[in-house]
């Protein structure tokens, strides 16, 4: 067990030191002074390096294992991105330094906006949102601003029950009432059911294409037509864009607003849960509402424009998560348009190859073909649940797929291999998953229920954690 920092703390010399090259002359009036102890640990650099290195070894990561986490697009994060992101002239830049002293940064942002427009079929992007859900929120504010501008009162957003949880949460956050739409067993939308809820007060419908069961929405053109005839806009959740690059563009499918998760489709790393980047894209009639500042090109120079009278405002401070944006742009410049198309082709091929190996033995609610990911509903012998299978996969060194999502599938297990895994890796994983479900669950169920045993800790008590919360050092 790795000690906590406060347990590691001793009377030793601290790791970092600061010298002041002038007299320190500080006087703080007593009523503004801190009185309580700071309560920080005291540890030497050597001990801290060991502490954090040992902690890192308790993580499964993309760099240590196959990470088939559905909806998260855990593709390889190219090392060249990291190398370039460490350049001093990128990471020392101040957001308020004059535009003429950061032309490189602005050129990258401008270039990425342009390339995202080309991939998505949108007309303009803002790179300001810091994550997918943040981009959704910005997109919904843009939709609200649009209806305000044309003086229409619409206070509802339709969200299919197969959608990511962020969709209804973002809608509520933006002040909308969420109207759930029951999706079909394969996650797709039934036009007639849609029409039933598509009233005049519906501002937008939020769709994930391919949907969270990995199925392309085949009626999308009709859905788009029906919605637009009602004056309702279409929002595209970009979490699954990795399936479509070079094959279909949300803008061409009829979507008006979308976000892209740069930390999914465009290879920026996830960092254990951020920082990410969720650019929001729109068709031209909505461009005036995009967050500020906008990066603009004037007379061959790039400038930041904060003065846009119709803008929704700012969804965070400054321009956006530049290090994440930079990595995405490096990735695009490595691949180019044809490379990106090949990414989606291979991602979809990998997923279908895996699905083909499972579909005759394990229930697949969405059928035998998929896009970049698929959802199994494994009902193993002896009451072995999906959670048990997931934990057993950890024992074999794999990170587990997304489990119990989407909510419309019983015992869901959502697998997304991405394009950066070899056939050999896929074959091995297929073999192990089959072994767990069809051998171990049948012959040694207790072993599966007791999993994991090869991880730094055994199965953790989540109920107790929430019942009696310990949220910091004692």
């Amino acid at each position: 067990m790795e000690k906590l920092l406060n347990e590691l703390s001793s009377e030793c010399k601290a790791a970092y030191e600061i010298n002041c090259d002038m007299e320190t002359d500080v006087s703080i009036p007593d009523h503004l002074k801190r009185k309580s102890d700071l309560g920080l640990p005291n540890a030497a650099e050597n001990d801290l390096l060991r502490h954090f290195t040992n902690l890192s070894r308790k993580n499964y990561a993309l760099s240590t294992a196959f990470y088939p986490l559905g909806s998260c697009t855990m593709k390889y994060n190219p090392l060249i991105n990291e190398r370039i992101a460490k350049f001093e002239s990128f990471n020392m830049a101040h957001p308020y330094q004059p535009a003429e002293t950061m032309q490189g940064i602005l050129e990258i942002m401008h270039g990425l906006e342009r390339d995202l427009c080309e991939v998505s079929g949108m007309d303009a992007f803002s790179l300001q949102p810091a994550a997918g859900a943040h981009g959704e929120f910005a997109g919904l504010l843009i939709i609200a601003a649009h209806f305000k501008a044309i003086k229409e009162k619409r206070h509802k957003i339709i969200v299919p029950d197969s959608a990511h949880g962020t969709n209804p949460a973002s809608a509520a956050f933006a002040g909308y009432e969420t109207i759930p739409l029951k999706s079909e067993p394969d996650g797709s939308i039934d036009i007639e059911k849609l029409k039933e809820v598509l009233t005049k007060d519906v501002a937008a419908i939020m769709l994930t294409v391919p949907n969270t069961l990995g199925v392309f929405e085949k009626e999308i053109v009709e859905i788009s037509k029906v919605c637009h005839e009602n004056g309702t806009l279409l929002y595209y959740d970009g979490a699954n864009l990795n399936a479509l690059m070079g094959f279909a563009r949300p803008g061409d499918l009829g979507f008006d607003v979308m976000h892209i998760n740069l930390h999914k489709t465009f290879s920026s790393p996830h960092g254990g849960g951020g920082p990410g980047s969720g650019p929001v894209g729109v068709k031209s009639f909505l461009e005036q509402f995009l967050p500020v500042p906008r990066v603009e090109k004037k007379d061959e120079k790039y400038v930041l424009n904060y003065k846009k009278s119709k803008t929704i405002g700012s969804v965070k401070a400054f321009m956006g998560n530049f290090p994440v944006i930079l990595r995405a742009y490096i990735y695009i410049k490595a691949l180019g348009g044809d490379g990106l198309k090949n990414v989606s082709a291979q991602a979809v091929l990998n997923a279908n190859y895996m699905l083909a190996k499972f579909k005759d033995k394990i229930a697949v609610p969405a059928g035998g073909r998929c896009m970049h990911e698929f959802v199994l509903s494994p009902k193993a012998a002896n009451g072995i649940r999906t959670l048990d299978i997931a934990k057993r996969l950890l024992d074999y060194g794999y990170y587990a797929p997304t489990v119990y999502f989407p909510l419309i599938v019983e015992e869901a297990m959502m697998i997304e291999p991405t394009e950066t895994e070899s056939k050999e890796t896929l074959d091995k994983f297929i073999e192990i998953l089959n072994k767990i479900i069809f051998e171990e669950a049948v012959n040694e169920p207790q072993k599966v229920k007791d999993a994991p045993v090869n991880t730094p800790v055994a199965r953790l008590n989540e109920v107790e954690a929430a019942r009696k919360p310990t949220l910091k050092w004692k």
Binding site: N6, A14, I18, L32, R34, L38, L40, N42, A43, L49, H51, F52, A61, T64, L69, N77, P78, I80, F87, F90, N91, H94, G104, I105, E107, A131, G132, A133, G165, A172, G175, F247, A248, L253, G272, G273, G274, P275, G313, S314, V315, K316, F318, M319, G320, P323, I332, A334, D338, Q346, N352, Y353, E419, T420, S422, V457, L460, A466, P469, L471
Partner: protein, 443 residues
């Protein structure tokens, strides 16, 4: 180049296993008339070519010696921080959904939460938010949830981009945002808060040191809010808390801020980290991930994401926030940063900021044509100077000399016409400060 490892033969075998001739068949569901045409995107560069290409782009930026803060600061980052955050076991992991396989990330965030609580004197910290601006917006929403009221009082000394973000976040909700004016001495008076409070007020939000560098009398302002049962939200610079009164000491209900000073590079203003800590009793209303300690089935200590029934993946439209991905890797950076100074070291670091800023302040205000805007105020590492000189000319001349000078506050309202916001951190040597003074004197 791309990063797909399959060779032709493997690809062929996979196609055969599916009984198809080409991947294109897998995209049959996409109607022909909406198929994408060729993507007109340049690229196809090798690693070697990319390096050159981006070196050229990097060369179009100027790296300057910075006397500019205003929310993003040039602080020294110890080598250990980037060593740890560069470990791929951390940066290539996802949000720690499978706790048993994510103990590294989870324990680090638990330690981060512990140190944020220590620094702020608050009871519970979350795992991070996007940045300082969104943390303030989330704090306003939290106060509204807790109080059931919908009027927010916010100091006009809060960072202007934070105020803008709060307004953006709340624009479609039934809420009234009231800006509190700062007095001629650069701070918020208790009387201003008292006059603005009413029965429908959910929160008073005050930043200290404020955007103009002035340390507020938070104890008095917090008491004013609490006497009226209004939640007091402190927006704080975490480094300043090594020496200045902590939110927990003056009874704040919510403490938020920008964590960038804690070992995170400026990076043109992002990616940052917003921190949020609350007093006991508010934890179930907090937005964002929270890590908790628990035991495994053998009784061994371990860490998990907890209080999850607040969150979007469970509560959907009833969640406390829509936040999912946050700023985990920067929380790790802040954790490593805070773990290596020790109490005395962090105090000395804060003192060094104050000493250097103080030195610069006294010298600059005595230059002909320059004077202190808030003469008797207490500040940490930022201060405002009023000048009769041509600000644009000064700025240009400093840049010519490799210096990013103070921020021009002229478009910040009449009160700040001809005003400059300086920042001096521990990064600036005495000779750099003297050079700045010399150039200003010649202006």
């Amino acid at each position: 180049m791309d990063y797909t490892p399959q060779n032709k033969q493997d690809r062929q075998k996979m196609l055969e296993a599916l009984g198809i001739k080409s991947e294109d068949e897998l995209f049959d569901a996409i109607p022909a008339d909406v198929r994408a045409k060729h993507l007109n995107i340049s690229g196809n560069q090798t690693e070697q070519e990319l390096l050159k290409y981006f070196k050229n782009l990097a060369a179009k930026n100027k790296t300057l010696t910075s006397f500019r803060g205003a929310g993003i600061y040039d602080h020294f980052i110890p080598s250990l921080v980037s060593e740890v955050t560069s470990r791929s076991e951390f940066w290539t992991a996802y949000t720690p959904y499978q706790a048993e396989a994510s103990q590294g990330t989870l324990q680090a965030i638990f330690e981060y939460q512990s140190m944020i609580c220590a620094l702020t004197g608050m009871d519970t910290s979350n795992a991070s938010l996007y940045d300082g601006a969104t943390a303030v917006a989330e704090a306003a929403l939290l106060a509204m949830r807790v109080s059931g009221k919908n009027r927010i009082l916010i100091s006009s000394g809060v960072h202007p981009e934070y105020i803008k973000t709060v307004k953006t976040y709340l624009q479609n909700l039934d809420v009234k945002i009231v800006l509190l004016d700062i007095s001629p001495n650069g701070s918020i008076e208790k009387a201003t808060v008292d006059a603005a409070l009413d029965d429908n007020t959910a929160a008073v939000i005050v930043q200290s040191p404020n955007y103009f560098g002035v340390v507020e009398n938070m104890q008095v302002l917090s008491s004013a809010a609490k006497e009226n049962n209004v939640l007091f939200t402190a927006v704080v610079n975490p480094l300043s808390l090594a020496v200045f009164q902590a939110p927990g000491e003056y009874g704040a209900d919510i403490a938020v801020g920008e964590g960038q000073p804690l070992g995170i590079p400026a990076s043109a203003g992002g990616a940052n980290i917003g921190f949020m800590a609350v007093r006991k009793g508010l934890e179930w209303k907090m937005p964002g991930r929270i890590v908790g300690q628990t035991i495994d089935k053998n009784g061994k200590r371990g860490f998990v994401l907890t209080l999850q029934s607040r969150e979007q993946h469970i509560r959907r439209e009833k969640a406390t926030s829509n936040i999912c991905t946050n700023a985990s890797l920067n929380a790790l950076a802040a954790c490593v940063y805070l773990s290596g100074w020790g109490n005395e070291g962090l105090k000395k670091l804060a003192d060094t900021n104050m000493s250097k800023a103080g030195y610069a302040f006294h010298k600059i205000k005595n230059i002909d044509g320059f004077k202190a805007k808030f003469e008797n105020s207490i500040f940490f590492n930022e201060f405002v100077i009023e000048t009769t000189k041509n600000i644009k000319k000064i700025d240009k001349n400093l840049i010519k000399n490799g210096i990013l000078g103070p921020l021009d506050l002229s478009n910040h309202g009449k009160q700040f016409k001809n005003c400059l916001l300086f920042c001096v951190t521990e990064q600036r040597t005495k000779s750099e400060i003297d050079k700045l003074i010399e150039l200003l004197a010649k202006a």
